[in-house]
Amino acid sequence: MKLKDKIILWSRLKSPWILHFNSGACNGCDIEVVDALTPKYDVERFGLVLKATPRHADVLVVSGPVTRQQAKRLKRIYDQMPEPKFVLAVGACACSGGVFDGCYSVLGGLDKIIPVSAYIPGCPVRPEAIIDAVVKLITTLEAQNKKKVISK
């Protein structure tokens, strides 16, 4: 592995930047995401920073079922993110459609539109669950990259 790649991998693991997107949630999960970011739970100590634009983000955090109105916009935002990109589905609605599944204005879970890296169930999710998911995401990334290095 070249030094350049090592630096990129280190920075990616030490500080995954996130973008929060509401695809039609009732706002319960949004508040829990904010709760996880602010000082009491403080995900920022893992280097997670909330960004305002998809072009700066590595992880897309989506809360809520995907409505027909938001589906196109969500796809577009996902396409704007640079590779490699990861998606967290926060809450029961983002995982499967939840209580809104079967409504004419709702398409269903998040995985109908974009590939999902991790599902976090709960209605609303607890901040601990979000932190757990983030840590697991980072550790699996680390493990994958170590494997790659060894195999090379």
Partner: protein, 161 residues
């Protein structure tokens, strides 16, 4: 009835002023007044209410009674809520816009147009508001005759195209 002085006064005044067009008026409890009025005179009644100090249109509720469609305008002075009910036949649903009286009404009226299919006269042109772009025309999901399964099938087929 001593605690309904304000309500009784307003009811009396409105009944005198709109004798011919008012079809129903009652007070359900303290701070809740209901009027049912012909659609032609609804705007006049609402501007009269605004002069009386009921300055805030909180929302518009749409309803489907089978033969009639309609709307309820909830107007308040932050204490008393005056509900103005207006009906229009389903075969040719038409209501006049209240934009001139309450300028907040635009989004509520767009919802009436999209979800109930009531034509609002005097509303400026614009795209679908609560419904997504490309929603099948002539389908108004909050009407009683719309079947949920059929609508979802139709939408999914459209999505596949």
């Amino acid at each position: 009835m001593s605690d309904l002085i304000k309500e009784e006064e307003l009811k009396k005044e409105v009944e005198e002023k709109f004798q011919n067009s008012l079809t129903e008026s009652n007070i359900t409890r303290k701070n809740r007044i209901w009027f049912t009025i012909n659609s032609e005179k609804a705007i006049d009644l609402m501007s009269f209410l605004k002069e009386k100090g009921y300055f805030h249109l909180s929302t518009i509720t749409g309803f489907d009674e089978g033969e009639n469609l309609g709307a309820i305008y909830h107007i308040t002075d932050y204490k008393t809520i005056v509900n103005v009910r207006v009906k229009t036949p389903k075969s040719n649903p038409k209501l006049a816009s209240v934009l001139k009286v309450f300028s907040v009404a635009e989004s509520f009226e767009r919802e009436l147009e999209d979800l109930f299919g009531i034509t609002i006269e005097g509303l400026p042109q614009g795209r679908n508001y609560p419904l997504p772009e490309g929603f099948p025309k002539g389908v108004h999901p909050l009407r009683k005759e719309v079947k949920l399964e059929e609508l979802i099938d139709k939408l999914n087929k459209q999505e596949e195209k």
